[in-house]
């Protein structure tokens, strides 16, 4: 018959004897616990406690979680003929097409951490300086 010490909440699987004392705290007052509740409590104990703050998905590059090998992209190399001006291989690795950057109307003003880059639309509609 399971009992619970009222002082320290220790569960005793056997009923306390005639002169009952809690082996953990020496307490002498116990509450009877029904077998069904005892099973549920045991089941809960076997589950690892849930942290108060569940981890949030993040794009933060500072978290050193990359233990897997990043597969090298087997794409075509960036050549002067490519239409791309900047290729983001991965954050921190960039291929630049100097010819396209010098000749294109696009003006890259910010390379994003998320694999995008911002363009200055105003520069595309400004008349070019005559030489």
């Amino acid at each position: 018959m399971p009992h619970i010490c009222l002082r320290c909440k220790t569960r005793l699987e056997a009923a306390p004897g005639l002169a009952p004392r809690c082996p953990a705290c020496g307490g002498t007052r116990f509450a009877f616990e029904s077998p069904r509740k005892a099973e549920a409590a045991k089941a809960l104990e076997s589950v690892s406690p849930i942290s108060e703050e569940p981890p949030q998905p993040t794009n933060d590059i500072n978290i050193p979680v990359e233990t897997r090998q990043v597969e090298e992209k087997q794409s075509e190399p960036l050549t002067p003929e490519s239409v791309e001006s900047i290729r983001i291989v991965e954050p921190g690795k960039y291929d630049l097409n100097l010819l396209r950057l010098a000749e294109s109307d696009d003006r890259v003003i910010q390379v994003g951490k998320d694999g995008n880059f911002r363009l200055d639309l105003n520069s595309m509609i400004r008349p070019k300086k005559k030489r």
Partner: protein
């Protein structure tokens, strides 16, 4: 155009010194910021950029304005010097990690350097009037980036002076650079100790005036 506007334009032309924007371009670690600092120190107000062995130390252009350089014959030019980030076709944050920089900062530096190169390349379209193209005389002048950049500068019809830097180093070969780019003036210099920098000033006055 009214009479007062015409008169005002004549006065402006008489008293206004034309300032040319001269961009210092070249691969990383060619000595661009060292030259920009030397020009600023010798001809104007002071030092502008941080010099470092770490590539891409200049990730945003630095500008020193209204510098008047006078040659031995008394002729002079007034310029704004624009020190640009090192141009390259690949930027990899691992380059910075080799210098002991932490991964997250290395990735930020790579991103900033990429933005800086994109910006500097865009300026060749409309903001730059002439180019000092710097090459490390100990490196291969036929590197793809040099051939591409000189080609781009020529296609923009910009006057260019090539500075063959680091002649103080034993394996420097300015002659290789002259062979690679015979169509442009090549001036052998050592920015770090100032050797023949005055020759570069003379060539700048000849080419950019």
């Amino acid at each position: 155009m009214g009479l007062s506007q015409t008169f005002s334009k004549i006065l402006t032309n008489l008293f206004h010194k034309k300032t040319s924007r001269i961009g210092i371009y070249g691969p990383p670690n060619a000595g661009k910021t060292t030259l920009a600092n030397r020009i600023a120190k010798e001809w104007s107000t002071g030092v502008e950029g941080t010099v470092s062995e770490i590539p891409h130390e200049t990730r945003r252009a630095l500008r020193a304005e209204n510098i008047t350089i006078t040659g031995s014959n008394g002729k002079s030019i007034t310029i704004d010097i624009v020190d640009t980030p090192g141009v390259t076709t690949k930027i990899d944050y691992n380059e910075f990690i080799e210098y002991g920089i932490e991964r997250s900062e290395a990735i930020d530096r790579a991103r900033e350097a990429t933005e800086g190169v994109a910006e500097a390349m865009h300026w060749l379209r409309e903001d730059i009037d002439g180019v000092i193209y710097m090459i490390d005389a100990t490196a291969d002048p036929f590197a793809q980036v040099n051939i591409m950049m000189v080609g781009i500068i020529e296609s923009r019809h910009l006057p260019v002076v090539i500075a063959a830097n680091k002649t103080d180093l034993p394996d420097a070969s300015p002659q290789r650079i002259k062979t690679a780019f015979p169509q442009h003036p090549v001036v052998p210099i050592s920015c770090i100790n100032g050797t023949r920098v005055e020759d570069l000033y003379e060539e700048m006055i000849r080419t950019f005036r």
